[in-house]
Amino acid sequence: MGVLVELDRVSKQYGGVRALDQVSFTVEAGEWIAIMGPSGSGKTTLINILGGLDSPSSGRVLVDGRDIGPLSEKDLTRYRAEKVGFVFQQFHLIPYLTAVENVMLAQYFHSMTDEKEARESLARVGLADRAEHLPSQLSGGEQQRVTVARALINHPALILADEPTGNLDEANEELVVNLFRELHGEGHTILLVTHDSGIARLADRRIELAHGRLSQVSVLST
């Protein structure tokens, strides 16, 4: 498959706080990586840097062979639209747009909207019959599945999920986790931040951070 992501001694400094400290690892295309660690260990900073929402203070971040560290704000914006699909803990759906419109929003910022494709993406996450519902009319699990559909719509190289089950009850958590398993089975590359070791066990590898440093890399499945 080949290396899709490569971090080479990546550090991030916020004033006097070192959020990431010389972090290096690689991610193969199609791999599912679980990122774990206590609060303040640098998990979200790592996801933000990989997602082009933040830049490293030092080190190199290669995604698909391209160093995203030196990219301009404009190029990072384009990178986010083309290469990354985000799934957030707090869903972050536009409240006045329907489920299908929320999916189409990502299309709109990428290139052009295609409602048929957006509906197919919703169908892919089991929400074909909820396409016209507003986020407020959907359960937490359904809202998170809409964000997954939105993350998938532009066929990104990388899916970044920051505690996607953090706000879900057990039943919905299972639905979403199963969805990630299916995506992984289809060959998507996933980096998923979680505190849940049960979810982490489903990943190919587990990367643990502590105080901004890589403390452990575990291979969990074959």
Binding site: T44, L53, K74, T77, R78, R80
Partner: protein
């Protein structure tokens, strides 16, 4: 998607949108009214100013200096030069012909006034002019003019003379000295043209002419005309042998206030400057155009009138512009405040859009589109309200409603757009600086 998001923004927090819209409507209404009045005030005040009299005086270039004592011109008829009355119709053929709202020729001749054969003889001037005369214009039309147009503040106790009769009005000062009143008859003695100067009171040489006139009224002007006898121009021309001629012409013209450019010497102007100057209703350019159609005429601007008008017009126009700026500033501040609140309220939405890869241009366009819709709706309604306001202001101040100007509509819409854009600059800057990462973490 773009229009969906923009359209949806108006259904959320409509109170804030209404507040911004009302501020814009008010601001644009005041601006429209002030602009309408400011554009109209020049014409209106120019017409009002014309009630203060003529602003141009035309005399023969080769004329001698007037010999006036106490308002009486003592020059004999045969002295000085004259201008042909037949040329006067040409005044309504110049480029700014529509701005010539009236003119009155004057022909003055020294005379001795006698109320009756036994009464005292008083030295005075017989002045010929038009009261309300029909002038044939070269294009075949007729133009009514005379002192009723050029000197509307002159008051007559009794009635003005008929231009076609041998009647006269007597100045109030002269009437007070002689006891003349409407209905009396006066006798005037004066020398015929080409003969010896006027004889002294009490003498009656054979070359002298006598004329008796019926007094139709007593003239009050507040000026030297109160010491003269005024009669129809044709009568004075016939009596003096100066048929078809006059010595002085008072012209009343609607003009634009003078400025630095208008005061420049036309001979120093480039062709483009000269064309601009010539095609503007400056009193100096109208004077030149009159000079061009009246050969041998010297046209002088009555400076104190023209400059006084200019000063008042400039100040009123400046006041209107200040009102416009204040209204626009107030509207801009309200729009800016509501836009800033909008950005604050929607920062998580904006952060999400940026995280999803929305270019800054797209996010700004979404935000600006909302503001522009507001501007066009507010500007359009403000224009309608402003024209209504201008109508009332015109009626109240000038007694005539201000004329609506459709050309102001695009100007107002552009101004409204400029106001909302200016008011949105700071909120837009905040949008540009918004870092999506903390927003997505709920910070």
């Amino acid at each position: 998607m773009f229009f969906r998001i923009v359209g949806e923004s108006f259904s959320r927090n409509p109170l804030r949108k209404w507040l911004a819209a009302v501020a814009l409507v008010l601001g644009m209404a005041i601006t429209t009214a002030a602009l309408t009045v400011a554009l109209d005030v020049g014409d209106r005040l120019a017409r009002e100013f014309r009630a203060f009299g003529a602003n141009l005086v035309v005399s023969p270039t080769a004329d001698t200096l007037p010999l006036e004592i106490g308002g009486v011109d003592y020059r004999p008829v045969e002295e000085g030069s004259y201008l042909p009355e037949a040329d006067l119709g040409k005044l309504k053929t110049i480029f700014w012909r529509h701005n010539i709202i009236g003119f009155s020729p004057f022909l003055e001749v020294p005379a001795i006034l006698e109320r009756d054969s036994s009464g005292p003889a008083i030295r005075t001037t017989l002045t010929g002019t038009w009261v309300n005369h029909s002038v044939a214009i070269p294009d075949g039309t007729i133009f009514q003019t005379g002192v009723l147009r050029t000197h509307p503040w002159w008051k007559v106790e009794g009635a003005w003379f008929d231009d076609s009769k041998q009647d006269c009005v007597v100045g109030a000062g002269l009437a007070a000295r002689t006891g003349l009143k409407p209905g009396d008859t006066v006798t005037l003695r004066f020398a015929r043209a080409g003969l010896a100067p006027l004889v002294q009171p009490g003498q009656t040489p054979s070359e002298e002419r006598h004329v008796s006139m019926h007094v139709t009224g007593i003239l009050s002007t507040g000026g030297t005309e109160e010491q003269v006898v005024m009669a129809p121009l044709a009568v004075v021309q016939a009596l003096t042998g100066r048929t078809g001629e006059f010595r002085r012409l008072m012209v009343s013209a609607l003009t634009r206030p003078e400025d630095e450019f208008s005061r420049r010497d036309p001979s120093t102007m480039s062709k483009a400057e000269y064309d601009r100057w010539f095609c503007a209703p400056y009193i100096s350019s109208i004077a030149l155009q009159i000079r061009q159609v009246l050969p041998g005429a010297d046209v002088q601007v009555i400076r104190q009138v023209a400059e006084g008008e200019g000063r008042i017009l400039t100040r009123i126009t400046a006041l209107m512009w200040l009102v416009c700026i204040a209204a626009l500033l107030a509207a801009g501040l309200v729009v800016g405040a509501t836009a800033a609140t909008s950005v604050l309220e929607r920062h998580s939405e904006i952060g999400l859009m940026k995280a999803l890869g929305a270019p800054m241009g797209t996010v700004s366009a979404l935000f600006l589109a909302e503001q522009l819709v507001l501007a066009f709706v507010g500007g359009g309604l403000g224009y309608v309200a402003g024209e209504g306001l201008a109508y009332l202001m015109g009626q109240a101040v000038f007694g005539v409603p201000a004329t609506g100007r459709l050309i102001l509509l695009p100007v107002i819409l552009l101004l409204a757009a400029a106001v909302v854009l200016a008011g949105s600059l700071i909120p837009l800057g905040r949008v540009a600086r918004l870092d999506p990462a903390p927003v997505l973490r709920g910070e």
